[in-house]
Amino acid sequence: MKPFEFFKPATIGDASKILADYGREGRALAGGTDLLIRMKRGQWTPRAVVSLNRIAALRAMEMNGELQLGARVTLGEIIRSAEARGQFPVLARTASKMAGVQVRSLATVGGNLCNASPSADMAPPLIALGARADIAGRDHERILPLEDFFVGPGQNALVPGEILRAIFIPRPADGFFCSYVKLEHREAMDIAIAGVAVSAQLAKSAAEIRNCLDVRIVLGAVAPVPRRAKRAEEILRGNDLTRERIQEAARLAASEAQPIDDVRGSAWYRRQMIEVLTRRQLLALMTAPL
């Protein structure tokens, strides 16, 4: 690793000042599971590394009408949290599909989002849940819908000096369902070939018919950023869930993916799998318990 100055400030304000001073040459350190690997490989050579690990506010997980999930909360803490398991089981399930137990002790939800990998597993379910990014800067704060947080592969919407403080997630109403399916070669320590998150607010329109009041379909690992399949959502929203409509929505979702060929899978295969993963999750909603 190239030499760097190491800071471990106690407040978000101090961390923000240091990061603003160093601009593009400063890096925030949370779990370190991405940052240290890139620094060891010489891909990133920051002049300043600012550890966020003394800032207690970033580690809070509180239910205040909505879930305020501190950016520094680890994947392991999400899996063990009663709130996540009870109200947001999709988050605990997603975290348990990421890396392995050891890495999950370090890796954080904020780190996963800020590194903005197209395959970041936390992004599709959080976007499907309607999450917002709570951002603190040197002398301002702002809140961004999470889907607008991703700018490109490895690029997020933060400017130097801004820190992702928390993720705000609305409390689900009755009849709300959210799932995420990650396609991978093996069950642990693997990166998604493709992933689809589906959320829906359902109502009974007849005995066995489910009406889709609202829906989100979010695609991961098949575009430069996690991406909503808005045309697929559109044909479902406000309509009864039927097999025909679901087939059509799944086809549309596949057409909205922009996958690439790489070592994990071909663009063709990824597109096919987006259709399958979307269809399966939507079909499951037809018999969702209401």
């Binding site: 190491f6 599971t33 240290l36 890396a99 137990v101 050891q102 002790s105 069950e187 320590m189």
Partner: protein, 162 residues
């Protein structure tokens, strides 16, 4: 303010490292990982360097009770945190029940992955004293073993739980 912040950023960073219950006051280069510091400064060679990228689990230690790859942690970031290495798992001067079971069940061949497997398994048994096979496999999914095929390791951990 700026002066204060700059004073906090030294090229030699003072830390208090609490390893296996013992306190060590060190001044370290902030580039040093916890793994390097354990092996080279504290001469605790039980924690092994494998992939150096968090994929193999050979360097697993307990960090505040949780199993974590010490190659992905800066020692400077561990100030005051409780670290337990495989050397710290002795029970009354004897190997831990997991270690004895690994020996008895043939769960060790070359031994390179063993300290990481031991630390991960002990963390599992502390949180869940009666795991099933799936839970054992999940707990060591981040520990690569190229010799055993895992079956005897899993049997050993289950035996140690009894």
């Amino acid at each position: 303010m700026r002066d204060n912040l700059l004073r906090m950023a030294k090229m030699r960073f003072p830390i208090l490292l609490v390893v296996n219950g013992e306190e060590h006051e060190l001044e370290i280069d902030p580039r040093r990982t916890l793994l390097q510091t354990l092996r080279e400064e504290l001469e605790l060679g039980g924690t092994h360097l494998g992939c150096d990228s968090g994929d193999c689990g050979a360097c697993t230690v307990l960090l505040d009770g949780e199993p974590a790859p010490s190659c992905l942690v800066l020692a400077a970031d561990c100030d005051g945190r409780a670290i337990v290495t495989v050397e710290g798992l002795l029970q009354n001067g004897e190997p831990h029940a997991v270690q004895k079971a690994l020996v008895a069940q043939g769960g060790i061949q070359c031994g390179y992955c063993t300290p990481g497997i031991v630390v991960s398994s002990v963390a599992l048994l502390r949180a869940n004293p009666n795991p099933n096979e799936a839970e054992v496999r999940e707990a060591i999914a981040g520990n690569l073993c190229r010799c055993t095929g895992y079956q005897k390791i899993v049997e050993a951990v289950l035996a140690a739980a009894k």
